[in-house]
Every structure is written in structure tokens, then in C-alpha cells.
């Protein structure tokens, strides 16, 4: 224990030194007189880097000693799940191109979806009626979200912005007229989500950052830097204090952030490829991720490590989106091979595979009351499964 304490503290010091040097490195201009200084900085940097790496591996070693059991081992005594019969109960047709994203309304039956051709549609999924439609000025609308009040939707994509549209009930009114530009990034918008109210939006972007915005004023409240490449997804924690969120990116990392301070408080890097989707476990103690490496993984926040991998040799194509059932026992994954795989979270086994879509599944969300889940696909349709 003492060893680890010391390791931990030395690691902290090394990391701090690295940070200082990195800042100096990034600030120093490349003019000839500074060349020797540069060389010195580089050497110190390299030295610190190798020290940091060795400390990191030592810490991992010590941590591994405490890792005495896997999740599926503990779950051995749990009763297995029987056969699941889930079918498509609704098919929503209306998009003219690939469906990229969707979100549920808190009323448990309405959804908003966005597609590659710039259309954003609000549906009453129960009746399959379209209630609103907006045409965005850009293509590839990769992110959309329903406001908690149900009175507005947010969306964005290749326009690098996130815009909020209040849902007008006047059939003649053009929704685009009341559009409000909230977020501004320097690259495409990959995901957006309202926090607990209509007043704040969290966004992630291809520019490698996440940001928290005030909807009313469009002001940037907090920005989150730390990913080394495009950030592809995010999810807000359902915790009591409601102050954290997780993001996943092309750098294969999943980072947990503190919304108040902007600091990255935890980081997980076990995936072998881009992380396309992250979703919190219902209790908020863990989260699942889906990646192009064709696996889904479960990370426990308190144990600070990966605790389960959901994969099968016959599953070759990447996971585009994941979500949990209400009890957290089932994990649904939408895959690029047009299927949905249903996993037993505790035992790590695959419970069921669902066919139906005719092109890759790009988005998947379970409804707020857990009665069904919805998928959007590149085959231009959305399906509700129950």
C-alpha cells in the first residue's frame, strides 16, 4: 500500500512537470535563437515521458493485484435469461436519406430524428405521424436532441453549430424562422444533449472538444479539452449531484468530465478503435461504450477500469450506438452490419440478434420508460422495437 502511495504521488509530480513543460513547448516560437532551448525542452520532455510511462505501468500492475474477479464470474449465480422475442412494432418512413441520429421526448412516445439530407423530423412514434419538419442549411445532421420540456429540439452537423428550434404549433409557421444558434465549434457537431433543463446544452465536436452552452444567450459556459482527436459521442450522468458526463472519441478514449471545473476526472483507453457511442448504466456508477473494433465494453467508475467486454468472433462490424434497458440488465447495440445485438450485461453473453434494417444501424435509444427502443438506419427508416 505504501509503495502505491509513493508511486501515486511521484506520478502526480511527474504529470505536473509534464504539464508545465508541455505548456512551455506549445508556447515557444520556432525561431533560430530558440533552437537550443527547443532541443533541451525536447530532451526533458522525452525523459519525463518515459518516466511517466513506467510509473503508469507500475500503477496498473498494483491495481491489477486488487482486481480479483470479473463481472461475469460474480454473475454466475444469477439466473440466465430466456429467449427474447422482440419485433419491429413501428416503421417510420419519411427521411430521404441516411438517418443519423434520434432522441426521445420525455412523453415516452415522440421522437426527433435527423438525416444526411439536412432534414430534422419530429414524429409521434406511436401513431407514426410526422408532427414537425425542419430543413437545416447543411447536410449530415449528425446530432439532434429533444428538450426536456418537449417544446424544442436541438440539432447540428456539418454547419459546426448547434441550433435550437422551438416547436411551433402553428402549421403555417416556418420553424426555421425561430431558429436560435447556440453552439459554435470549429469542426462538425457530432453529438448534443440538453442538461436537466431547456436552458443548457452540452455539445461534442470533430474539433476534439466538448462544450457547455447557455441557450438563452448562446454563451459558452465551459469547455472541455483533453481528447486528441474528434469527439464522437457524449452522455450525461444520472447521478444525484448531476455534475459529470462521459465522452468518447477517435482517440479510442472515453473521458469522464466534471461539468463545473472543466477537468477530466477519469480516462479509459482499452478500445482498439474509435468509440462511437457511450451510455451510462442506469445507476450512474458505470458506463458502456461501443466502438469500431466491434466490441462493447463496460467501465466501472469506482473500480476505475473496464469490467466487461461484449464481443463475439462472428461479429465483425463496428458498433454505432449502445443503450441499456431500464434495469441495466440488457445492453442493446446497433451495428454497422445492419443488426442489433442484445447482450446480457451481467453474464457477458449475447441474448439475441435482431434483423430488419437494410443498411447500417446508425443510432439506437431506449425510450424513457423502457417500454421500447428505437433505431435509425442508413436505409432511411426508423424502427421501434418492443
Amino acid at each position: 500500500m505504501v509503495v502505491c502511495c509513493c508511486l501515486g504521488r511521484t506520478a502526480t509530480w511527474v504529470s505536473y512537470q509534464l504539464k508545465i513543460h508541455a505548456q512551455k513547448y506549445m508556447r515557444s516560437p520556432l525561431i533560430p535563437e530558440m533552437a537550443t532551448q527547443e532541443v533541451q525542452l525536447n530532451e526533458t520532455l522525452a525523459h519525463l515521458k518515459s518516466e511517466s510511462e513506467s510509473l503508469k505501468s507500475k500503477l496498473e500492475e498494483e491495481r491489477a493485484k486488487l482486481h480479483d474477479v470479473e463481472l461475469h464470474q460474480v454473475a454466475e449465480k444469477v439466473e440466465g435469461l430466456g429467449q427474447f422475442v422482440m419485433k419491429t412494432r413501428r416503421t417510420l418512413k419519411g427521411h430521404g436519406n441516411k438517418v443519423l441520429c434520434m432522441d426521445w421526448c420525455k412523453d415516452k412516445r415522440r421522437i426527433v430524428s435527423s438525416s444526411q439530407d439536412g432534414k430534422v423530423i419530429v414524429w409521434d412514434a406511436f401513431t407514426t405521424n410526422k408532427e414537425h419538419a425542419v430543413t437545416m442549411p447543411c447536410t449530415w445532421v449528425m446530432a439532434c436532441a429533444y428538450a426536456p420540456s418537449g417544446c424544442a429540439v436541438a440539432c447540428g452537423g456539418l454547419d459546426n453549430k448547434c441550433s435550437v428550434y422551438p416547436l411551433s404549433l402553428d402549421k403555417n409557421e416556418n420553424l426555421a424562422a425561430k431558429k436560435k444558434s447556440v453552439a459554435m465549434h470549429t469542426n462538425y457537431l457530432s453529438a448534443c444533449s440538453f442538461t436537466n433543463s431547456d436552458m443548457q446544452i452540452l455539445t461534442s465536436s470533430g474539433d476534439g472538444t466538448c462544450a457547455l452552452w447557455d441557450v438563452e444567450s448562446g454563451q459558452l459556459l465551459q469547455s472541455f479539452h483533453g481528447h486528441a482527436a474528434d469527439v464522437l459521442c457524449l452522455d450525461l450522468a444520472p447521478s444525484e449531484t448531476g455534475n459529470t458526463f462521459v465522452s468518447g472519441g477517435c482517440d479510442k478514449k472515453a473521458n469522464v468530465w466534471d461539468m463545473r471545473s472543466g477537468q477530466c476526472i477519469q480516462s479509459f483507453e482499452t478500445h482498439e478503435s474509435d468509440i462511437n457511442s457511450v451510455r451510462y448504466y442506469p445507476s450512474g456508477d458505470a458506463f458502456a461504450s461501443g466502438s469500431d473494433d466491434a466490441t462493447c465494453r463496460l467501465y466501472d467508475l469506482r473500480a476505475d477500469r473496464e469490467v466487461a467486454i461484449y464481443s463475439k468472433e462472428s461479429i465483425i462490424f463496428g458498433v454505432s450506438s449502445v443503450d441499456f434497458s431500464l434495469s441495466g440488465r440488457l445492453l442493446f447495440g446497433g451495428y454497422n452490419d445492419y443488426t442489433i445485438n442484445v447482450w446480457d450485461v451481467l453474464k457477458g453473453t449475447r441474448v439475441s440478434i435482431l434483423f430488419g434494417h437494410e443498411n447500417r444501424v446508425s443510432t439506437l435509444r431506449v425510450s424513457p420508460d423502457g417500454t421500447a427502443f428505437s433505431t435509425g438506419s442508413w436505409d432511411h427508416t426508423l424502427r421501434i422495437w418492443a
Binding site: 500500500m1 502505491c4 501515486g8 506520478a11 502526480t12 504529470s15 510511462e53 500503477l59 498494483e62 491495481r63 486488487l66 474477479v69 470479473e70 463481472l71 454473475a75 435469461l81 412494432r89 441516411k98 420525455k106 415516452k108 406511436f126 449530415w140 420540456s149 411551433s168 404549433l169 469542426n187 470533430g206 447557455d214 438563452e216 444567450s217 459556459l221 486528441a228 482527436a229 474528434d230 477517435c250 482517440d251 463545473r260 477537468q263 477519469q266 442506469p282 445507476s283 456508477d285 458505470a286 466491434a294 473500480a303 463475439k312 462472428s314 465483425i316 431500464l326 441495466g328 440488465r329 440488457l330 450485461v345 443498411n359 431506449v366 420508460d369 423502457g370 417500454t371 421500447a372 418492443a386
Partner: protein, 456 residues
């Protein structure tokens, strides 16, 4: 710490992962011991060696990956779609048929991952060969592309024609079986890399990622290292943590509609919205499951509008309702409009914190001092500490007592347990699906009815 340089060669890395995995499967299929049994297949009058039937492929996949026939057909279909296996009988149709249709493994020379990016010159030579071999053998779209290429790389056209003639001459000297095989291989390769218009493009991978090629530094988060050392110091055993997942799932299992079904029926399956009506935000009598859920955690009670209402009634009896009111007011600051923060903070101070306030909350002096100091420069999180203090006070004290109280127990006993809807006698008769007022409509209605006392 890692310094990542993202080279431009990172284009379509996602595709590469898929290809590598597919290639692993293909290699396993060709393993001399565990792989597929190949034999000679008859194609009209020619005998083609090292071929297999569609059915063989499906059977092998089923056995080796422990999957059912549907999944095996689906997976095998991708192997054909991406050109790792090609059909001999209908070479233009890259589909896996679960019958006696003959298939062959594509030679690695023609794997999409090997010969990438596709060369225009190669395509021109391929089309030229087809054109020379038999006039009119080119399809419409191929003729168009041929003429486009002719214009574009006109300067090397002599080379193209010469290469095409050479390759045709060489192939004439081979056995018919080999010739057929080579033609099929090439055809399959070009069907994938230059698909006919309207056909699904197997290589469509969406937007390029990552989009930026900047060098960025990632620092192993400072806090993460501290977290690591803390975890070790606290010595939390993994077993305890894993058990929490099991416990949570067991507790919520009955509440999970996908796993246990829901009463009276799942609206998506039966087209009956009774389940939603019974569980609306505020109902005269809630369902049993809902009331049970309030006892799972304090968060569950507070996130349910009705639960909050009941809890408020209980606190009023105990003369500690100001705690919940204070908590709700703080939530409104945290999640409300930035412009209203100052006025809301003042309201809270007036009602809850000022000495002699009407609904004074009992916070410890340290937190109170810190909060009062913070109020001088109000911001969104100024009430956080005080709010958290009161939250945990309610959670540790009032909440457990509420669960033991008569108020809760009587609510639990009179709660409804809906009857399961019997499956309709005529299952094909679909019920009418009724639409519901949209939340936007509801909000507009309440606005037009005039300002009401805010019901929290």
C-alpha cells in the same frame, strides 16, 4: 503522456478494422485442418477446382462460430459483398445463396484492402479487355465510364490497349477453367470497387474520420492519476463493486418492461395507451410498481413528480418542508436561465437564508458563511454546497422516516396493480392508435390559461 500525430493515412481506418477481421475469417475457412472442404464444382461443362457451395459456407460458419442459420447467412453475405468470396454461376450478383451454387475464395491479390486505393489505369485496362474480347459485352454504365476514362487518360491510351491485348493473349493460352476463374475474380473485384449506378455501395463509410490532422498532446489527466492512487489506497475490492451490478439489476428487474413486460400491456405491442395513462405525471392513484420504486433511492422519489408531492406533504407534517422547497429553488438556479440567476439567488436568500427568514433552513455555520460570502457575487453554482447539505440531510433523515410512515404505507396499499390485458380474440384486428397532445401544445395551453402558482 502521449503525443499523437494523426497522419493523413488515417483515412477510413474503420474500414481497415473490418477488413482485417473478415480476412481472419477467410484464413480460418481455408485452414487445411479445420477449414472448409473444397472440391471440384461443375459449371456447365467445365470443372472448376477448389470451389465450394453456398450451403457449405453457411454450414461451416454455423459450426465454427456457434451461430444459427439466419446469422450465418447474414455473415456469409458480407464476405461475398466485400469480395472475399465470389460466385461462379452469376458473377454479377454478389449474393450468397444457401444452396448448391458454386463459390470460390478471392485471391488475396484482389482483396480490396490489398489493392487500395483503386487505380484508374487498372479499371481502364479491365474495360478495354472486355471491349476487345467481345464487342458489346460492356454494359451501358460501363460504356459511359469507358468513354469518360478515354477522355481523361487519353495520353496513356496506347498503353492501356496494349496491356489489355497482352493480358487477353496470355489468358488464351490457359485452360478454360483457369480463364473462367480469373474472369470471375476480376469481375467481382470491379463490382465492388466500381459498383454499377443504383447498386448499394459496400465501401460507403460515411464521413471521413478523424477530420483534423493536427498534432495534439494528450496529457494523462492529472486528476486521473490521483484517482488511481486513491483507489488503491482505499483498497476497494472488485468483488464488492461487481455485486452492486447484480443487486441493481435484481432490484429493477420487475420494473423493466422489456424484460418482464408491463401492465396492463406494452402500448407498442397492444396499441393500447392505458399503461401511459396510468403512469402519467400526476394521477389520483399511482400504480404499485411506481410507489415501490420510490423506496429504491432518494433520487427515485425526487425525480417522480408525484413522489415529490407526497414527500412534500409528509415534510409539512413534520414542519421541515422548507428543506425540499429550498432544494427545488436551488435546482432552478442550477438549470435555469443565466439572466435570472441574480434575482433567484436574492429570493432564496430572502426566503431561506436571511436571519429570521420565513422558511429558514438549518445549515451548518461553515457552509452558511461560505454561501453568504458567495452570494455577494452570485453565479450558477453559488448554492451548491448548501443545496448538497440539505439534500443529504433529507436523504439521511427525513427520507427513511417517510418510508416507514403511515403516509407512505397507505399509499402503497391503495396503489393499483393493473390487470394484464387478455390477448385480443381477433389478433389481426388492429386497435385505433390515438394521438396525444404534444408537450408543446400543453405548454401553450397552460400559458394561455394565465400565470398559476408554480406546481413543483
Amino acid at each position: 503522456m502521449t503525443i499523437n500525430t494523426l497522419a493523413k493515412g488515417g483515412w477510413h481506418r474503420e474500414q481497415m478494422t473490418c477488413f482485417q477481421k473478415m480476412e481472419k475469417v477467410i484464413v480460418a475457412m481455408q485452414d487445411p485442418d479445420m477449414g472448409m472442404k473444397m472440391r471440384n464444382q461443375r459449371l456447365l461443362i467445365t470443372v472448376i477446382p477448389h470451389a465450394m457451395t453456398g450451403k457449405d459456407i453457411i454450414d461451416w460458419l454455423m459450426q465454427n462460430y456457434n451461430i444459427n442459420e439466419e446469422e450465418s447467412l447474414h455473415l456469409g453475405g458480407f464476405l461475398v459483398q466485400y469480395g472475399y468470396i465470389y460466385p461462379l454461376k452469376e458473377p454479377r450478383c454478389l449474393v450468397l445463396r444457401p444452396d448448391e451454387s458454386p463459390y470460390r475464395f478471392q485471391t488475396p491479390y484482389f482483396w480490396t484492402s490489398t489493392r487500395w486505393p483503386v487505380s484508374e489505369l487498372d479499371y481502364a485496362i479491365f474495360l478495354a479487355k472486355k471491349n476487345i474480347r467481345k464487342q458489346g459485352e460492356l454494359m451501358e454504365y460501363e460504356k459511359e465510364r469507358y468513354s469518360v476514362l478515354h477522355k481523361r487518360i487519353n495520353h496513356t491510351w496506347d498503353f492501356v490497349v496494349m496491356q489489355a491485348r497482352e493480358q487477353l493473349r496470355a489468358s488464351k493460352q490457359r485452360r478454360k477453367a483457369d480463364r473462367i476463374v480469373t474472369e470471375c475474380q476480376e469481375q467481382a473485384y470491379w463490382l465492388i470497387n466500381r459498383p454499377p449506378p443504383g447498386a448499394p455501395n459496400a465501401l460507403d463509410m460515411g464521413l471521413e474520420r478523424p477530420s483534423s490532422c493536427t498534432t495534439r498532446m494528450t496529457l494523462w489527466p492529472l486528476n486521473a492519476m490521483i484517482c488511481c492512487s486513491n483507489t488503491i489506497i482505499l483498497s476497494v475490492r472488485a468483488y464488492v463493486l461487481m455485486c452492486r451490478f447484480v443487486k441493481y439489476s435484481e432490484q429493477y428487474q420487475n420494473h423493466d418492461p422489456i424484460m418482464q413486460g408491463c401492465l396492463p400491456s406494452n402500448p407498442w405491442i397492444s396499441d393500447d395507451t392505458a399503461h401511459w395513462t396510468m403512469n402519467a405525471a400526476l394521477v389520483p392513484i399511482p400504480t404499485r410498481l411506481r410507489v415501490e420504486r420510490w423506496s429504491f433511492s432518494f433520487m427515485e422519489l425526487l425525480s417522480d413528480a408525484m413522489g415529490r408531492q407526497e414527500f412534500m406533504m409528509y415534510l409539512e407534517k413534520e414542519f421541515s418542508a422548507e428543506n425540499l422547497c429550498f432544494w427545488q429553488a436551488c435546482e432552478e438556479i442550477r438549470h435555469g436561465e443565466s439572466s435570472k440567476i441574480v434575482e433567484k439567488v436574492e429570493e432564496i436568500y430572502k426566503n431561506f437564508l436571511a436571519p429570521g427568514a420565513a422558511r429558514w433552513v438549518n445549515i451548518d455555520s461553515k457552509t452558511m458563511d461560505k454561501t453568504l460570502e458567495g452570494i455577494k457575487h452570485p453565479h450558477r453554482f453559488v448554492m451548491d454546497d448548501a443545496q448538497m447539505h440539505i439534500y443529504f440531510l433529507m436523504k439521511k433523515d427525513s427520507y427513511p422516516r417517510y418510508l416507514k410512515s403511515d403516509l407512505y404505507k397507505s399509499m402503497l396499499s391503495k396503489a393499483i396493480v393493473p390487470q394484464e390485458t387478455k390477448k385480443s380474440v381477433f389478433p389481426f384486428v388492429r386497435r385505433q392508435r390515438h394521438s396525444s397532445p404534444s408537450p408543446a401544445q400543453a405548454a401553450e395551453d397552460s400559458r394561455s390559461k394565465g400565470p398559476q402558482a408554480g406546481s413543483d
